[in-house]
């Protein structure tokens, strides 16, 4: 099994183009101004490919994958089904 990863965004770099939310609606929604709201949870194995694609296609290079399971302090969208992995 691969190590758990989660999404992170550099909001200074982000321009709100919204491509990431189109590519990965399971984990990324947009706020009222078009900036990404990330699910704080660990990226499920089935979505790893899409997540990598979203990171690579971000026109501002603002999205990244970080090592670590879904952590405290990150925003977990209400209603996002939790599949958090035990470490």
């Amino acid at each position: 099994m691969t190590a758990p990863v989660r999404l992170a965004v550099d909001l200074i770099a982000c321009d709100g183009r919204g491509l990431c939310a189109e590519l990965l609606p399971e984990l990324i929604t947009l706020d009222d101004w078009g900036y990404p709201l990330l699910s704080g949870r660990t990226v499920p194995a089935a979505l790893r490919g899409e997540a990598s694609a979203a990171v690579q296609l971000c026109p501002r290079l603002a999205l990244r994958l970080e090592a670590g399971a879904g952590a405290a302090g990150s925003r977990v969208r209400p209603g996002a089904g939790s599949t958090s992995q035990a470490r």
Binding site: C14, G16, Y35
Partner: protein, 392 residues
Amino acid sequence: MSRLLPGDYADRTLARHLARHGNRPSCAGTRRRDELIAEVERAGLTGRGGAGFPTAVKLRALAAAWPVPMVIANGVEGEPASDKDKVLLAVAPHLVLDGAVGAAELTGAREVVMVVHHAVREIVDHAVAERRTAGTDPVPVRVMTAADTFIAGEASAVVHWVERGVAAPTGRPPRLGPRPALVQNVETLAHLALIRRHGAVWFRSAGSPGEPGSMLITMAGAVRRPGVYEIETGTPVGGLIELAGGAAAPLGALLIGGYFGTWAEAAAALPLPFSSAGLAPVGARPGAGVIAVLPRTACGLAETARITRYLARSSAGQCGPCVFGLDAIAAQLERLAGDGACDLTLVHRWLGQVRGACRHPDGTALMVASALRVFGAEADLHARGWCSEARP
């Protein structure tokens, strides 16, 4: 309580400082360094810039860092309601410098940068020149005037300012090129200087056991003698208002902790100890020690709208949700303060969405959320075309 602030306002000169506090004991040497950081830990000193982070944890992390860090004394104090760092630097600059140089020895740093508000720049320059002439310090000390903006005091913004002259947060851990930076509030450094002289037991002999020591506070608004005071942590809020000469008008609400603080009804807050644990019942924290007193005759919603607009304008302008979110929230609050025609559901939704690379949007959202709790009845009045400020 007068540990940091001399009663007579005359410790500006090195001679007076030495007469009062004696020579600065060295903190150099690897073995002694570990013992002294353990002493700071026993003292229970926490950051006095607002975040309240344990100072010993920071010192230990930076002492182990490579390359050796540099020390940045944060005297920016961009918060308009706060004056305590300016007053401290104006009346006891050498105590802060002792602490900054001591922190450099404790972490192995080879340079200290004092970033200070322009109002006290000359005083700090003079103090540094005196010390250079006397040859008191083992590391060079440089002084910089802070950028005159609200956001300039945020830790990563201070480092950014020192490195590139840009007073905007970076969202990354404080670092100057390859060098990690110990960014420490000037009041914290002054306490550090006194702990080195008198020890942890002495430090803990004042204040509440959980959050010991003294702290500087700024009393603003409807008190008879607004200004900066040194208090023991855990002093009841009502006692702080007495210290500032008492209320200048019947009390309505208090903004505790500054612009990123929490609104609380005065009656609920007055008996509470001024500490994180003590203020928990009203959801407040001491923050950087500001208490702004709103009289019952003033409208809390109007004041909140004014502060929120100020904070929206103070955004560094880097992160979209902060730029657009704070402006949108401020606009709704201005309508609420006016004719009451405001969509509060939308405001609550936005309070949960604003975010960015630093805590500026989060701090603003917490203050606004507390206002909507405390001034709920006032919001109802506004919706019906009334305002308590206009009431006879």
